[in-house]
């Protein structure tokens, strides 16, 4: 019984080793290496350009080696544009938006996935469809709503939703609720029904069942969604471009539109600025890659 099962892997690895030498494999690797290099090139080129002073590229040309290399462009971009201010704007919006989106989405997801009642399917459809709408479908009336809707002075210095951090945060929450509810309800459906029953027997009410029983079990999808939502909201260009009038209050990605040409006068500075702005998302890529991919694919595959 044991002999064949030991022999099998040896045979398998033997064929693999032989296969590895086939010209087809070499061709495959050549193709993949070439594709990867092509894909990495634009970013590599940006890094390379950013490291060279404008004077050197003007003298030797952009496609050249030589001259000095350094971080002066990064320093210039950072200080000339006051990038820290725009990063702070982003932070003010992204952090509460991600936390509240996940909290609110998990609440609906809990209700529709753990209890069966008439409106479950309808609600889920509403949220799922909402997440697929192009933003431009809602923007025209939304813009008018933002100009008219009153907000307390505590969160709005002009008394309305328009041109306020709070307003931008709210549209992100409302919009992203769709995707997160969809993903979280799919996940919660996979948790055993008995959990609810046990909680009821233990005398836990609906809220305790949600907060103490179900929510702690949802850490994996929550971590993935938090990573994804951070990246998406950080990367948002459209909402803040339309709904935030004051350039100085725009989050970094939307602010790029105004900074272009005005501060980033040469391509070396554009390159340095791009890399600085891309840095938070690049950190996500290098540190939280697994979570990010999980978040992306949670919506497309079940569980």
């Amino acid at each position: 019984m044991t002999a064949p099962s030991i022999a099998a892997p040896v045979a398998a690895s033997g064929t693999k080793a032989r296969r590895g030498l086939r010209p087809q494999r070499i061709l495959l690797h050549a193709f993949l290496i070439a594709t990867s290099l092509v894909w990495l090139f634009p970013i590599g080129w940006a890094v390379y350009t950013a490291l060279r002073p404008y004077g050197d590229t003007a003298k030797y040309g952009y496609v050249s080696v030589g001259g000095s290399y350094g971080f002066q462009n990064f320093i210039d971009a950072w200080t000339r544009v006051d990038i820290p201010k725009f990063f702070l704007n982003t932070l003010i919006i992204v952090v509460p938006a991600v936390v509240l989106t996940l909290l609110l989405a998990s609440m609906v997801a809990f209700a529709v996935s753990r209890y069966s009642w008439r409106f479950n399917l309808g609600l889920l459809m509403l949220f799922t469809a909402g997440n697929l709408l192009p933003q431009q479908v809602v923007i025209t009336p939304l813009y008018r709503m933002y100009l008219a809707l009153p907000l307390p002075r505590l969160v709005s210095d002009n008394g309305v939703f328009y041109d306020q951090y709070f307003g931008i945060m709210m549209i992100h929450i409302a919009f992203q609720l769709g995707f997160c509810t969809f993903v979280l309800s799919n996940y919660m459906k996979t948790l055993p029904k008995e959990l609810n029953e046990a909680a009821v027997v233990d005398g836990a009410g609906v809220f305790r069942t949600f907060w103490d029983v179900i929510l702690p079990l949802c850490r994996p999808p929550m971590a993935a969604l938090a990573t994804l939502q951070f990246t998406w909201i950080y990367n948002d260009f459209f909402w803040a471009l339309i709904l935030m009038f004051t350039g100085d209050k725009r989050p970094i990605t939307s602010a790029l539109n105004g900074l272009k040409g005005q501060f980033f006068t040469d391509n070396n500075l554009v390159a340095a600025g791009s890399i600085i702005v891309a840095l938070p998302t690049l950190i996500v890529f290098f540190v939280l890659q697994k979570q990010f991919i999980r978040g992306l694919t949670l919506g497309s595959t079940k569980g």
Binding site: G20, L28, L32, T35, S36, W39, L40, P42, I43, W45, Y62, V63, L104, Y115, W117, L123, L124, L126, F127, T128, G130, L132, P134, Q135, Q136, V137, V138, I139, T140, P141, I171, I173, A174, F175, G178, K193, E197, V200, D202, A204, G205, V206, N235, D236, F237, F238, L241, T253, L256, N257, G273, S274, T281, V284, F285, L296, T297, S300, T301, K302
Partner: protein, 327 residues
């Protein structure tokens, strides 16, 4: 009664409403729901009600308003100034009075076709190659998916470094930089859409690849082994065995591809505000809000065209999730 200290199976049913009901109603979910205490009902109402209100108020209400406003003429100031003009906005659009409309339609279609016929299959092809057991597959995957984390605004900046007529990589490589022969990839209206589509596809391919890699992982290995034992070639195995199993993921990818093509905005807007060869429906909607003359009804009519086109993929996606619901 929700005091944690009071919980525990060892305690007999306390004389509280919920506990009495819950013990009795273990049989059916539906019945248990009807036997919630008043407080439970309130909690459920709130946890469903608050997010649903936000979502409807900020997303669906404007969508419906867009639909209604598309039949009106309004400059956005004073609700009493809204005038119903029937289908005039639509007839104006289609009759070509508004010059950028038909080019925008054409560009959106080109965008969609390039995404569907080139970028998406390429992403799928790479996923199939990288799903095999090959050395360094993680590194290849990372390289191709790197652009996915970048914002489209940054993608525009990065490709400007390659395309710009004076300081860009291509023109410097060709030696045309700064000369009259320099190719203005983003500026020339005959080619800029294609240049933009290269940049957009650069990101989309990685996105599609990630989705398919996840889908391929879920394909039962024994299926492929069975096919291999039956003497199927790799190609046959893929098209006859793997591809059909991937149906759900195919739908997701198609839906995402279509929706992303309709949403396309950032890249074009940061490049040249969507003018001169880069008109898109999304840009026209925006121009009618923040332009000097705000034409709410007209912009809404363009938005409705976007909505009508996106209804197809949305329904496709919903029916797929509904089917899973029933299963």
């Amino acid at each position: 009664m929700t005091d944690p200290a009071n919980r525990g199976l060892d305690q007999p049913a306390a004389p509280s409403g919920r506990r009495r009901f819950s013990v009795r109603s273990r049989s059916g979910v539906r019945r248990r729901f009807s036997l919630f205490t008043r407080r439970d009902k309130l909690v459920l109402g709130l946890i469903v009600g608050i997010p649903t209100f936000l979502h409807i108020f900020f997303i669906w209400l404007p969508t419906v308003a867009s639909g209604i406003l598309s039949f009106t003429s309004w400059n956005g100031i004073g609700l009493d100034k809204i005038k119903f003009i029937g289908l005039k906005n639509y007839s104006d659009l289609f009759s070509g009075i508004y010059p950028p409309f038909w080019p925008a339609i054409q560009h959106n279609i080109i965008w969609l076709v390039v995404f569907l016929l080139i970028a998406t299959p390429l992403g799928m092809f790479l996923a199939v190659l990288l799903d095999k057991e090959i050395r360094g597959t993680r590194i290849y995957q990372s390289a191709i998916y790197l652009p996915v984390v970048l914002s489209l605004a940054i993608v525009g900046f990065i490709w400007q470094l390659i395309y710009s007529p004076d300081q860009g990589f291509i023109n410097n490589l060709l030696g045309t930089a700064g000369t009259p022969e320099a190719i203005d990839w983003f500026g020339n209206r005959n080619i800029n859409l294609w240049a933009i589509l290269v940049a957009a596809s650069w990101r989309h391919v990685g996105y599609v690849m990630v989705l398919y890699l996840a889908g391929l992982k879920s394909v039962d290995l024994s299926l492929r082994e069975a096919a291999a034992i039956d003497g199927a070639s790799e190609r046959q195995t893929f098209f006859r065995v793997v591809f059909p199993v991937l149906r759900p993921i195919n739908i997701v990818v198609i839906v995402i591809t279509v929706i992303e093509s309709l949403r396309a905005f950032d890249l074009v807007f940061i490049t040249n505000r969507g003018l001169n060869g880069l008109e898109l429906l999304s840009v026209l909607v925006t121009n009618n809000i923040i332009g000097e003359a705000s034409r709410v009804g007209f912009g809404s009519a363009i938005a409705m065209i976007l909505l009508v086109v996106s209804v197809g993929p949305i329904i496709l996606f919903l029916t797929r999730s509904l089917r899973e619901e029933a299963a």
